[in-house]
Amino acid sequence: MKDIKLEKVERKPTSQLQDVWKRFRRNKMALFGGMVVVGLILVAIFAPYIATHNYSSQNLTNRLSAPSSEHFFGTDGYGRDVFSRVVWGSRVSLQIGFGAAGIALLIGIILGAIAGYYGGWVDNLIMRFTDIVMSIPALFLALTIISLFGASLVNTMIVIGIIYWTRTCRIVRGEFLSLRNKEFSEAALAIGSGDARIIFRHLLPNAMAPIIVQGTLFIAQVILIESGLSFLGLGAQPPVPSWGNMLTEGYKFLSIAWWIATFPGLAILVMVLFFNLLGDGLRDALDPKQKIA
């Protein structure tokens, strides 16, 4: 009999996170998106060092001047440097983006988890409530709430958060409904784990992938919504520069100074575009089954 020599193949076990990273890395556009997003966050953090001028200092002798080497993006109707304001504006967009997305995810996860885990009439009640909130066009609802409580950066963040949780709620509920009946959650129940433990230790970690994807894409959407509300004068209040209220300013001078509206608009486009790219890439890497919807 021939000697069979078994050779041990050395292969490092890969963790789930490594697999995700491997899939994510292959998607060049998503990788690029992620890098730009990190870059934009750095711009927001280091805004005081990047801005070339004070964002609120007015210079009425130098108003509406076209882009130049002194003012990269020109100056606005008060002679303020548009470039510095765009740089500072990234802070407002990111603060509201992360803040509102955080609030929406929190509400959506809690309600979705309860609905999906308990099912029955609790599920019915929560989902009908979700249907109702989804039937009011969000922007109208946002206007209404802001008119009641006043416009400010924090209020805008809260309002967007408490209106847009519905989609997360539906996603989490769907995940929980299917995970609840999997063997591992039945096993957890069988060994006597309580509801809270099953929800937080067993179900939620398994539902994280779509939540992360949803959160990333949602930040992009929040930035768009915030710019709209700020444009109407219902977001961050001057003198705090937000890209939305800079567009309002630019809109006034549209026919004589194109740069005031153009650059904040481009800034929004860049930030939202790369958050979307990152979100799409994360979806492919984390959750290959999910489709665009």
Partner: protein, 316 residues
Amino acid sequence: MSKYILRRLMITIPILIGISIILFTLMNLAPGGPEAVLMGDDISAEAAARIRTNLGLDQPLPVQYMRWFSSTIRGDLGNSFRTGEPVLSALADRLPNTLILTLSAFMLSLIIAIPIGILSAAKQYSLIDKVATFVSFIGISFPSFWLGIVLILIFAFQFRLFPASGMATYGMEGDILNRLHHLVLPAFTLGAVRIATFMRFTRSGMLEVLSQDYIRTARAKGLGERVVIYKHAFRNALISITTVIGLTIPALIGGSVLTETIFAWPGLGRMAVNAVFQRDYPVIMGVNMVVAIVTVMANLGVDIIYTFIDPKITYN
């Protein structure tokens, strides 16, 4: 069929009641309540109490809600705090304008997005597909009102091809061509995001169907690509496309707020914005209610269309 529609219509009633409760509660959460605006700051406590009694605001909230509700279903939405005009007639003036704008934007986006989406899926990874995917990605990434601003800058100010604001030239309101001319930029502005999203929906819906076995069977039978794509694939993809398009209706109607503001379009969106700045609560409440009804009805419409498209759904 009519039974199905009736049943579906019945479901909308609790939804509308739910919406009205939410809105009513919100209004009463306002600091000082809605009447604070009506009374102003320099009013004696005695006079304030008298006004509250007259308006029935000293009653418990559920009682107030029931009274509001019963007058609302009789068509009495109260009077504007600012103009004193009945809210209902103001809404009736504005609603058609918003419907014209949103419906045009909707049709425009369907006409442009669906053929491109089909083509993009049929020729996946071709140049056309890549360009369309890229453009639609950009399309969902910028605020539509900014597009409106850019369009005004280029087509109204630079080339003077289209008017920058309003629904018609003063004195020419009866001229349909003049109205269409005014509609082009706002409808495109409101529709642009939808073009991008509908295109993505159509493409992914088609790709999903095209990978199914029955499509392979259809091709194996020797059917032409045209028949396979339009008759077999698109018919089936249409089901999922209709669903997701239905889900975007509230966003389309919500988008009218910004589009109407930019183009000075006299619709509900602009009315809401003005009412918000004037803290005109009866108007805000009325606009929200009407907009919610329109949304719920539009969703109902989608559900009915759905039954025609999907042969698996029967209504008996």
